[in-house]
Amino acid sequence: MTEEFDQYIKSDYEAGFVTDVESETLPPGLNEDVIRFISNKKGEPEWLLEWRLKAFQVWKEMEEPEWAHVHYPKIDFQDISYYSAPKSMDDKPQSLDEVDPELLRTYEKLGIPLHEQAVLAGVANVAMDIVFDSVSVATTFREKLSEAGVIFMPISEAVHKHPELVKKYMGSVVPQKDNYYAALNCAVFSDGSFVYIPKGVRCPMELSTYFRINEEKTGQFERTLIIADEGSHVSYLEGCTAPMRDENQLHAAVVELVVLDDAEIKYSTVQNWYPGDSEGKGGIYNFVTKRAVAHKNAKVSWTQVETGSAVTWKYPSCILKGDNAIGEFYSVALTNNYQQADTGTKMIHIGKNTKSTIISKGISAGKSQNAYRGLVRMNPSAEGARNFTQCDSLLIGDKCGAHTFPYIESKHPSAIIEHEATTSTVSEDQMFLCQQRGIDPEKAVSMIVNGFCKEVFKELPMEFAVEAGKLLEVSLEGSVG
């Protein structure tokens, strides 16, 4: 039975090609000079260089976390290159037309809509920021967005154009010493997106960043900062891929969301980093810190579809600081072959009547290990706070593992917490029923898995929901004998 399943879920990684561009890549190694080089390359002000160097000091004194339910050989941080950029980016292209066509073809192949005309023609209503290794190569629809007062640009550019916002908010949600990888990111972060939505503005289109690792032996350390000012609203999407390579590559990002009074941020991720091959060789180590602070009446919604990476360590979290703030976490994590995922969320209830919802769907196949790890904390001030958590695991085959590690802490008698977890399998009976009704096995597994994930998919913006569905199918597809 297990072998039978295996063949349905062998995955084809369609984003695994390499783009042939000439890049400027730092040799592997990490020291203060590397940090100065990165900072200098981006022409950063002195305060930011100092900020980076301070983070580097902090990082050197920290220990790599080992509590997660994942196992991998120790990372040699001196064997990673911390900066790589296509040479053609040296002259900073001013518009899409000036961008190296080879780069543009990469995104065409990945199905990412870069040309504004195509978007306007109704393919999708999305503005894109494109990050290729350590630099942002293009940001679309900037004019249209600026009409609404929305700032959407690479963070390296925001440092120059909006230093007051960057200075005020960067590190305010995820402090430098928050954790090992966050500290590393602070020291060596390359690029990423910066978003500011002014008071009362509803962002006229979806914003999206597409991250691509291309160069060998490089790490990607992007940093995203989104500030939703009072009463504003934005929906942000994030996608990521990397070529198939035999060695493991490190991705250690930091995402900070600041959601001021009455504002709302909806943050969706489709994470499809290269997961390694069917023998467990290669793949991305995805060690990411994502966190939001929600002020009074604010709402944050994290939705993630995680199908890629060899090892995932990621807990998009909400600090519900203001009264009536709402936090949501919807997650689908699929692991196959030798993938390992330890992912979940933290909901820290501080304000009165704060509410959080956690819906987590883990699917384990092959020889993979998939863990949900979550924290729900009701502080003594969290009067009338509520949490509902539902965490379901689906096991496909008997060589994989599905794990649930919820931490539930309550210090307020009027706070209500409900947590439920279940485990199930795609049973032989279900498969037989489908087959007996003429449905082929591959389709049957995909149907069952899609049904299992429905609650999360419905939270994704339309374009992404389709992509996510397809992605799951790809991970489960292409392999029926």
């Binding site: 009701m378 593992g401 794990h403 590690f405 309550s410 209500i416 947590h419 485990t423 399998t425």
Partner: protein, 457 residues
Amino acid sequence: MTEASNAIVSPFTQSALDFVKSLEVSGDFGEVRESGMAAFESLPFPTRKTEDWKYTSLHALTTQDYNRPADNFDLDNASELFEVSGLDAYQLVFINGVFVSELSDEISEAGVSAVPLSVASDAQRALFKQHVGNIAETRRNLFTALNNATVEEGVLLHVEKNVQLKKPIQVINITSAQQQTSSAFARCLVVLEQQAEATLIEQFVSTAEEQNILLNQVTEINIGDGAKLNHYRLHTEDESSLHFGGVYVDLNRDSQFESYQIALGGKIKRLDVVVNHNQAGSHCEMKGVYLPKHNQHVDIHSYIEHIAANCTTDETYRGIMADQSKAVFNGRIHIHPDAQKTLANLSNKNLLLSNKAQINSKPELEIYADDVRCAHGVTVAQLDDKACFYLQSRGISRQEAEIMLSFAFINELLESIPVDALRQKLRPLLAQQFTSNESLTQHILDEEIGVCSEGAL
């Protein structure tokens, strides 16, 4: 999780080592003691960063020496502390870990050995030696390692094949207040052979004064093929008590383990319950209630290891935290790769009665087999306003309504205890946890109208 090496040699650790060295070597248990000692010395002293001790601080142990308890107990009124009226059981009584023959029964049932080690025959000691330390693993718990290192006195309960113990065995561990901070150790080993049946009631009581004594007790239980143990573990010591307990159970083919644990709070009260489903068809049913109040702390860690296929676990814990008390519940269910067709369920419900009370609950599932049905559910809430109003609208005072509803929260578990005498002993004991005002508990304790009084109608 890697631990930093044992940087803190706490006074507790030091006095424990001294204690072990002072033990009279009776020879036959040397093996388990030595391996326990080795484990104890190699395990780091738990800190808040030690996952299994995340919410329970052992700081209290790092400030004082621990001595052997003084023999200061007055036997005359001792039985008041533990007597369960109407319960016909064999009693074995230990005070601060020392066997008290004056208060104990001599048990002579065919096919049954139920003796304290200090009076056991050579054959019985040999049997004890054969089993002791086989189940109580030391890698997870410093205190179990220490208990292994101190094996000397304790209970052996052995029931032969096809034998049903006629009466429950009541093992009573009393601690008495000490001048000097002290520690005492106790052990219990239960071996049920094929198709045997027994009921074991472990009672932990104390005098009512400030205790100043730490009790470290471990019970190991091996339930043979088709055998069944009903197990009760009742912790009703004074709130100043320190208790570190462990229950380790091996389940063989088609065996059954039914356990009820009641824990009032203590200064630190920690209980680890480890159940190994070693062979197919075994069943474990665990029910527990924890009721800390004042500044008390209760920590229950359960670990259910599904190693064999076709086994079932049904686990229900309820907790009510009052005042500034704190409770920790960790319920781990681990399904090993061959444990197909496992059914495992865990329910943990908690009620916080005050702004200063705390609960930390961590249900865990670790699953390596696919054809299994596992679930856990945890809730934390306060009393239901609607229910409270309903009672008030019938003239019942808010205060009494709250007590009735709090009691109702644990009543279901209490009512499922099959031994009438125990239930009747526990009802008032638990009701008193909510108030000392008898007029407020009269209705929940009224024999004629309570739900337990089947005969009344």
